[in-house]
Symmetry: C2
Amino acid sequence: MNFEITHRDGAARRGRLHLAHGVVDTPAFMPVGTRAAVKGITVDRLHALDAQIILANTYHLLLRPGDDLIARLGGLNAFMGWDRPVLTDSGGYQVFSLAARRKLDEEGATFQSHLDGSRHTLTPESAVDVQARLGPDVAMMFDECPSWPATHDAAEAAMTRTLRWARRGRDRFLALSTGRAADVTRSNPAQVQFGIIQGGIYKDLRDRSVGGTVEVGFDAYAIGGLSVGEPVDVMYDLVAHTAPQLPDGQPRYLMGTGMPDDLVESVGRGIDLFDCVLPTRNARNGQLFTREGPLNIKHARYADDPQPLDPACGCETCRCHSRAYLRHLFLSGEMAAGILNTLHNLHFYLDTMRQIGKAIEFGTFETFKREFLHTFSRRLPA
Amino acid sequence: MNFEITHRDGAARRGRLHLAHGVVDTPAFMPVGTRAAVKGITVDRLHALDAQIILANTYHLLLRPGDDLIARLGGLNAFMGWDRPVLTDSGGYQVFSLAARRKLDEEGATFQSHLDGSRHTLTPESAVDVQARLGPDVAMMFDECPSWPATHDAAEAAMTRTLRWARRGRDRFLALSTGRAADVTRSNPAQVQFGIIQGGIYKDLRDRSVGGTVEVGFDAYAIGGLSVGEPVDVMYDLVAHTAPQLPDGQPRYLMGTGMPDDLVESVGRGIDLFDCVLPTRNARNGQLFTREGPLNIKHARYADDPQPLDPACGCETCRCHSRAYLRHLFLSGEMAAGILNTLHNLHFYLDTMRQIGKAIEFGTFETFKREFLHTFSRRLPA
């Protein structure tokens, strides 16, 4: 994996991340394709939106259709018909948030499928094996993400276990990639592995997590355990504290974030990669992003509004349709509502990232950020 | 409205129907966009599939968002962001199949909305007015479609009432289009109106219906009241009996039909226009059409089948995805399942119509029909 930083503007970085299936221009946002599909949109449209990398969830794919089946069909890219990079998480977060009867110990996690009750195990090693079969460009290490709020003791315990799991997961990954272990189908031999920093909201724990995880040595590092309920100021502060400690020459990924202004704020603190379900999930709920902030298309004020959703936007939804029509589709429960809303929200996120990137190239990121934050309101209008 | 028949092959006709929003090459299939949206697909994709005309339902649009609102926004084309022809039915069929507490008399129908219980009336005149506001290129007259099976007496009563309604509907349409009545917004001043032949399965009634409806004089004629439960052979026989009695120089529309082989059989009996929910509805249920016949993508035999749905098909779904992936999407309830399946089924229908048209041009329709019917099976494989 090669990562070039082409421009810097304060702590913000503009770069090119070279992965097995292509180049990702950073800062980049990864649409979430939980079950090997980004909800509401097809791969053809993801191409048209110029999404350069998407995320899929190991937990969901392990349960259905299964990592063995995906490996038999050539790995995630072949399975999905998507020819660009893919990143998979390790499944840890979903085991804690979705699975039934989960049991966690030093070895790993055992749990029951939320689909059919079948029993499964994920360990630092098996999460590597599953992701080897799935074959994304980037595999994430298996970590323990404490729920929020967590005491210092609880956050410390999860962080130190995550460090031990980092070593085990990295060892297994290297055993597979060097051929020392050959008992697992590797659908993508050029796969790389990212480590995850934990430590909750405690800076001393974040510091120790950075030190230990970097000592293990991964291809890049993610900040996990944020965007889990803590106030945004706390998140920004922890990102500002943690990101600069990570190796400068490697990409930094803030997991599960966030609102559009969170992306701008975090790029300004040195983050290169993001993923979040907000643009796609909110689209299906009728919450649509514009430069002024979100709007709720259900609102009666849009009933006969002939304007596009966002007059400043160039996406298909805004080029072809009025707010009145989008409201009608949403209230009627038409599939086109989900499709067009998803298209718009993903376009908004990806376009915001492109604007951020350009601003860094031109050395105008601070101006861009100030104007963006001045215009954008997180709150829905009354 | 201008209709040129450019080629004939037996009873089959190849033509060009010039409507306010463009040309329709006949024989043509109209995808159904009940609520001003074709389920599972956006207008951009309908363009890419080269759908030349779509159908929308007056009953649904009258109830939500309302014909007044659509008129304020410039009519159906502007409302939907669709720049090609639209046909609306008159609402009669849905009043009988969907509305609660419907009451039918010589004046028309009163009914309660299936959405909110609000009371509405549709008469031969008001159905014209509603469609004037909606503004499709083609408006259908208001008719009474008896349920199936119907006795000769019941079918005769509905047919003779439909004839009286034909006169009233045509008078109202002409009053609006000549400016004698100016109390209704006309969103599409070039709108034309089609009459509807009824008479159930009784040839003597069909003959009288043709005579009376043609005497009233419409821009074209539709055969209604078929595809309502009768055996296909009965339908084919009635189409063969009725179509040749309709004016040769005007397009003939068989309403609500059908399976792919029904289209081929009916073109061979002189039909030019079709509409049906089958390709879109069945797509959402996982039933996909191929040259061999329908297949059910849920079937376990497709679990790790790397082949495209239909190796002979050039649609996006077949170019980009395997049966295994489509099955996974369907079983996971992913929106992409509905989108990709709809895309494929509509492509299949529209492409079949294009092949039919080319065969008529080349004088090879009988050969095409024989080969199509030899290969295509209506039954799902076991």
